[in-house]
Amino acid sequence: MKKIQDFNVYANHRLNSDTFILELKAPEKLPEIFPGQFAQLKINNHPQVFLRRPFSIHDVDYEKNTISFYIKIIGEGTRSLQKLNKKNSINAIYPLGNSFSLPKKINVLLVGGGTGVAPLLLLSKSLKNNNISPVILIGGRNKNDILQIKEFEKYCKVLITTEDGTLGEKGLVTQHSVFQTDKFSFKKIYTCGPELMMKAIGKFAKKNNIECEVSLENTMACGFGACLCCVVETREGNKCVCTEGPVFNIKDLKWQI
């Protein structure tokens, strides 16, 4: 069941010049939240921000009763979230959307680019709780983009690429040696990040007949299935990314890959 609630800001800390973790405390016991789900946050006091903004749920702490978000500043909405402090409260609609499907015990690879790593932490945790030890490949332009490594290392083996080679392998995520097909042992890939990256990963998966789930970030007005603005073309027609996604199996998408 979806909820609409005022959360208190529990913590807000910068990871680098434009990325931060916003942790919010729920007013009552949190419902169960599945990896891949997101929340629609209301931005207060901003003349240029009219609609809510969607963010993946990065982590959940059922003991502290908090959820956290991994957010990158890209415009006015995210900039104003960055300014929130413990005195502020914020309204959220959550948990929204479907979630990544948790497989039987197989080898899985997670691939995150940019803010695409956001939903992968909760996914790693769930996989680990299901006795699957995932490997995560994180890509960025340079080492300052590679964040939350310690967090991911709790649940995963972490691989890294940077475009300038300042951390991990040099190049794009898709150029990482893990993809040298003869060695590739993963049965499933979960990915989230820039569309071009996801499509490249999807192409690799398709070619090699590997299951692949992607988490999409279409622009949304409502976030809960009422407006039909967030659609993606699928083999069964247009589907709402907010209710029938954000996670899709690439088999169902009409991507030209």
Partner: protein
């Protein structure tokens, strides 16, 4: 306690607050948030004779105090609605009103005939104002003779309350209003969205796949209020007002301008519980001002 009940001809509403077509799905999307039977009515999303995929993504652009949409009447068609959705929603304790659309008069008639058979649907809203479809839609609503023709045709086959929803993208809204009144409409709802456009200066591309789209939200409220007032002063049938309503005070403004009832659209996206808050707010206003019945305020603007 103030009385919120109102009537649109034969249609009885427990309060004047309805939800606007295309912003409230079939109601089910909101049941987690509040008891939707509290509403005066729900206008379900636009229905066409055949299934429609709608327009390609992107379909939405945020604008100053508003948004553009280019959904383009995505729906599974009237038969799917009757078979799969109607049974689910027909027992809600509120008025379920179907918003019907077509690209030809014939299509409007076909949908209206089928909806006419549904016991629990007390009214239809004839959408002759959708800016997001190539054929039909807004074209019918921007010209007196076509607005009249489609209304007359539907009137012949539809026996219950017939609401006609007008487009604001016209020079003289009162002429269109008078034409549909003459053609047999029981009520007029307005406004649908204003035709607008958004451009991304960085990519140099339009934001919407369809280039232009429909503007809604508080940005359009002054235009909507003006048109409701003009139409109220030129027809005898009840007017339903909408466009940018965000709170109870906005509702009072529309009612003073001449609306018998109102619809809340875009605001539902920002606060899915907004309609109940608005209903409470209207009641507070009436109590504060010692007004017994909301009907006393209809068109009561002091000019």
């Amino acid at each position: 306690m103030a009385d919120l009940k109102i009537k649109i001809q034969k249609l009885e509403l427990k309060n004047p607050v309805m939800t606007a077509s295309g912003t409230f799905g079939y109601g089910e999307e909101y049941t987690d948030f509040f008891d939707i039977s509290k509403l005066g009515g729900i206008i379900v999303k636009g229905i066409t004779i055949n299934p429609r995929e709608g327009n390609p993504y992107p379909r939405m652009a945020e604008t100053a105090s508003g948004m553009l949409n280019a959904v383009g009447l995505q729906n599974k068609g009237v038969d799917y609605f009757i078979k799969n959705i109607y049974p689910e929603i027909k027992n809600y304790d509120t008025n379920i009103i179907v918003n019907i659309n077509g690209s030809t008069i014939e299509e409007y008639i076909q949908v209206a005939e089928k909806i006419n058979e549904l016991d629990k649907i007390p009214a239809i809203e004839l959408n002759i104002s959708c800016p997001n479809v190539k054929e039909g839609g807004m074209a019918f609503g921007t010209n007196c003779s076509s607005a009249m023709a489609v209304t007359e045709a539907v009137r012949k086959v539809y026996s219950k309350t017939l609401i006609v929803k007008l487009s604001p993208n016209v020079t003289e809204i009162t002429e269109i209003a008078k034409a549909v009144e003459e053609a047999g409409a029981d009520s007029i709802s307005l406004i649908n969205t204003l035709l607008g456009m958004a451009i991304n200066a960085e990519t140099r591309k339009p934001v919407l796949s369809t280039i232009t789209g429909g503007l809604s939200g508080p940005a359009v409220k002054p235009v909507a209020l003006r048109m409701v007032w003009q139409v109220y002063n030129s027809v005898k049938i009840p007017v339903i007002g909408l466009g940018g309503i965000m709170n109870a005070s906005d509702v009072i403004e529309f009612i003073l301008a001449g609306a018998s009832a109102i619809q809340v659209g875009t605001a539902n996206f920002i606060d899915p519980q907004i309609t109940v808050k608005i209903i409470d707010g209207i009641e507070e206003y009436l109590n504060k001002h010692k007004i017994d019945s909301i009907t006393e305020l209809i068109g009561a603007l002091e000019v």
